[in-house]
């Protein structure tokens, strides 16, 4: 076994002969049309040869001339002496190259990696070492406003598909050596670069340890998006509730870091994974901290109300109208009965049809190009709002209920939580249509038990609510004035680190 690995190591080492090296590279990249070989010569009588290899789709326009520039450098500095390969070698070993970042490569696999990462790799005659110059440039989206999380106040900067830029934008906000960035690479083909960041002393050590141990073993998997990581480290994959949060906002990422979260960035995607995310945090946005206290608190309460409406309103309507009409005030009951006159379906079926119709419209609207999307919504609104009522398929009251539910679910700031609501609404409608208020109560209790038993990275998901922590309540349903936050989790790094992990 030892000899074979030794042989592999031997065959991996570059040869002193340029032709061998070149042949090896040509074999490796056979069929890759965008790999280019540029030969050239140097020396007093141009008797020595060199070759540069690069991937033309990955590098800056002018970089193929790197080699010429480098050799020119040499000429300029060494006019007096003759330019033997030995001189070239000495020069590079001692001085390095004048331009850009360069590395010395002695093995073929290093060279292949470098070429595929946008390096120009140059081989010289009589030298078993190649030089790689960083020349990476691929067209990427510019920094723009985050599409998923627009805001009225506060920074408008969103992440892009470039990992380094994203990390830079976050580091710019937290200028401390305590902000740690750790890299790893996953996938044998994609070789995706994954970075996770945390603020030392703000993050709970147990959480960090848990996170690292879960991330272990991801190396062989091809990670193409941050959600792959989410799936990999999730506690309960089959729960409808999201246990981690996504953001495209660098200010939100920085605030999360201060809160003691770990954030995960993956190259080639703008989504940042914030972990762990607690249930109550899905009601908060970064803008809450940029608006005034009273308004921010009212908005938070509104969102909680929206959550309840989006989850329960159709089921409550079904339960009341089918099982407990006596609980509706008489005048309202008469109004409802009036509108339901002539509707051939029971309330549950009516609600189901309308809800599914609404979900359909919503899904169609997302996928379609924008100009067509608006047409869908106009048609949908007409069909749902007007025609369905006139055709006696649904009652106006049901349209109000469904519309209110839909709007309420849009008011939840994080998309993933909205999905959880959409999923849970239907079983709740079902139990309330079968068992009325009792069914609704059972459904609610089961949901609550599930929520309470969920964990995210070892922390209770309902934390601050269950287990109840009154001190943290200042940033759950209301957003207390920022001056009260000095002792909140956000400023945990100021506290005694021993107490922070309780």
């Amino acid at each position: 076994m030892k000899t074979t690995t030794g042989e592999i190591r031997e065959s991996n080492r570059m040869s002193k002969h340029l032709e061998d090296n070149r042949k090896k590279m040509e074999e490796t990249f056979a069929g890759c049309g965008d790999i280019e070989f540029h030969p050239s010569s140097f020396g007093d009588n141009f008797e020595y040869k060199a070759v540069s290899v690069f991937c033309s789709t990955l590098i800056k326009d002018k970089t193929p001339t790197f080699m010429h520039d480098t050799l020119n450098d040499l000429f300029r500095k060494n006019v007096e002496e003759d330019l033997s390969p030995e001189r070239v070698r000495q020069f590079f070993i001692k001085h390095g190259a004048s331009t850009s970042i360069s590395t010395m490569l002695t093995r073929y696999d290093q060279a292949v990696d470098c070429i595929l990462n946008g390096y120009v790799v140059i081989w010289f005659d009589h030298w078993d070492t190649a030089i790689g110059y960083e020349a990476f440039q691929v067209a990427k989206r510019e920094v723009g406003e985050p599409i998923g999380e627009p805001s009225v106040q506060g920074p408008r900067e969103g992440t892009t598909e470039r990992l380094a830029d994203n990390i830079g934008m976050i580091r710019e906000r937290l200028k401390t050596p305590r902000l740690k960035v750790e890299y790893l690479v996953a996938g044998s083909v994609s070789k995706t670069k994954i970075a996770y960041m945390y603020v030392d002393q703000a993050v709970k050590p147990a959480t960090l340890e848990q996170f690292r141990s879960r991330l272990n073993g991801i190396d062989p998997y091809e990670v193409l998006e941050t959600s792959y990581i989410e799936d990999w480290i999730e506690d309960s994959t089959y729960s409808p509730f999201p246990q981690y949060m996504y953001t495209e906002r660098t200010d939100f990422a920085a605030a999360s870091l201060l809160d003691g979260k770990i954030i995960v960035l993956v190259s080639n995607t703008p989504m940042i994974l914030v972990c762990p995310a607690l249930f109550v945090e899905f009601f908060a946005t970064s803008e809450d901290y940029y608006t005034r206290t009273i308004f921010a608190s009212l908005i938070r309460l509104l969102r909680v109300w929206a959550f309840i409406v989006a989850l329960l309103l159709p089921s409550i309507y079904i339960a009341l109208s089918t099982f407990h009409p006596e609980l509706i005030p008489t005048v309202l009951l008469l109004a409802i009965l009036d509108t339901r006159e002539g509707i051939p379906f029971p309330a549950f079926f009516e609600a189901l049809v309308m809800e599914i119709f609404f979900e359909l419209l919503r899904e169609a609207g997302i996928r379609l190009p924008r100009p067509v999307g608006s047409a869908v919504s106009i048609v949908g609104a007409l069909v749902i709002g007007q025609a369905a009522i006139q055709a006696k398929i649904a009652s106006p009251m049901m349209v109000i209920v469904v519309a209110l539910t839909g709007i309420a679910s849009f008011a939840i700031p994080h998309y993933n939580m909205g999905i959880a609501l959409r999923v849970l609404r239907f079983p709740l409608m079902m139990v309330s249509s079968l068992l009325g208020g009792f069914g609704l109560m059972i459904g609610f209790l089961l949901t609550l038990v599930h929520l309470t038993s969920l964990n995210t990275l070892g922390e209770p998901y309902m934390s601050s609510l269950a287990p109840l922590k009154l001190r943290n309540m200042r940033d759950v349903f209301i957003r207390a004035p920022l001056s009260y936050f000095l002792k909140s989790p956000r400023n945990r790094h100021l506290h005694d680190p021993r107490r922070s992990n309780s």
Partner: protein, 385 residues
């Protein structure tokens, strides 16, 4: 939290409120008023004092035996056979209590909200939810019940406040129209249910966190006081609304809620109350099923504590469907026989254990100023090491 199964002190205190107030808040005003008339709230106040006594004994035992459960305490005190006997008695009590609580829920729904649905549906689904909750473990139960209890107390207080225009003080007078005897009968009923049931906490207290600062006793007394105040308040308030009719209305708090009308905006709020109050019963049933399961786990020394959960739940479902012949039978069993059983069996056992422990401790204290039973002490070291 070093121990994964333990819960915080305040959570334990909340569980005490849940199990004492949980179902009592909706059921208790009616039977006590039935027997004690206007003096119902006085009976409840005395019963609260009795509850404090029971709690004191339970806490004393918890301290004296360094946080052991009922089974080990009785083993140390009476020997192995007697311990098994005591455990069986407690199991029988719980096997009555759990179905009774759920039948209470059933009868609430079948008499008031959904008259046509057969009661096995309610039994089955309630027990499913209860067992599901128990299966998630005590920590989840404790976390969740804190939330539910806050809701329960808040809703009850809101009802009592909104009902202020309905109160007529003259209904509450005279305080004791029929002398002391009705008060004593009321005391007997409410002393058994819910206050005597505190003896079950000998099973639960070992789960309280022992690495935490803060006094368990203080928290427990405080939470029992919350129960006491809420029960007295609700019985007093229903009395001031319905007067002599209080004893007739079942679920008096619910009826009270249905009477509330504030400016034509707030009316018909009783359904919310009904559901919230039923959640109280659910909490109590969950805590008791957890206790029952734990008793079996400890008695049979099971490694997997969910092994018997499903069969036990099944037994409870069947019991809840067969145990009571009807509403009057239910009242008779729950408000007369059950308190008697709790007082004569449960409370008597705990009182005896307290007395014996106290005496033995006193004797040992004279011999060496250790403050603890050396026999227990050595046992603690043996099991701790």
């Amino acid at each position: 939290m070093n121990d994964k199964k333990s819960i915080l002190i305040y959570q334990m205190a909340v569980l005490l409120i849940c199990s004492t107030m949980g179902s009592a808040i909706v059921y208790i005003p009616n039977p006590i008023s039935y027997v004690a008339g206007n003096a119902a709230w006085i009976s409840l106040a005395f019963a609260y004092a009795f509850g404090m006594l029971v709690l004191a004994c339970v806490l004393f035992l918890h301290r004296a035996y360094d946080g052991r459960g009922l089974l080990e305490m009785s083993r140390l005190l009476f020997g192995k056979t007697a311990a098994v006997l005591i455990a069986v008695l407690f199991i029988l009590m719980l096997l009555f209590a759990i179905p009774a609580i759920v039948v209470g829920i059933n009868s609430f729904f079948t008499t008031i909200m959904m008259k046509e649905t057969p009661s096995f549906v309610f039994s089955f689904l309630t027990f499913f939810t209860v067992a599901f909750t128990v299966g998630k473990g005590l920590q989840v139960i404790a976390r969740m019940f804190v939330l539910l209890l806050v809701m329960l107390i808040a809703v009850t207080l809101v009802i009592l406040i909104l009902a202020i225009p309905l109160y007529k003080v003259k209904y509450a007078l005279p305080v004791m129209p029929n002398g002391v005897m009705p008060v004593l009968i009321g005391l007997f009923t409410s002393g058994g249910f819910p206050y005597g049931e505190i003896v079950f906490f000998t099973i639960l207290l070992p789960f309280s966190s022992r690495h935490e600062e803060g006094s368990l006793s203080k928290n427990m007394y405080l939470s029992l006081s919350v129960t006491g105040i809420m029960l007295v308040l609700s019985s007093l308030c229903t009395l001031m609304v319905f007067g002599p009719a209080t004893g007739i209305y079942k679920f008096s708090l619910y009826i009270l809620a249905s009477e509330i009308r504030v400016a034509d905006i707030i009316e018909r709020i009783e359904s919310i109350i009904g559901i919230v109050l039923i959640i109280g019963s659910y909490m109590k049933a969950t805590i008791y099923l957890f206790m029952l399961n734990q008793l079996f786990v400890q008695l049979l020394k099971l490694k997997n504590d969910r092994l018997l959960l499903t069969p036990l739940t099944g037994v409870c479902v069947l019991l809840s469907l067969t145990m009571f012949k009807g509403d009057s039978d239910f009242s008779q069993q729950v408000y007369v026989i059950w308190p008697l059983f709790v007082l004569t069996v449960g409370c008597l056992i705990v009182f005896t254990m307290t007395l014996l422990t106290f005496l033995r401790k006193g004797i040992k204290n004279d011999e060496d100023d250790n403050g603890r039973d050396p026999r227990i002490e050595s046992d603690v070291q043996a099991s701790g090491g």
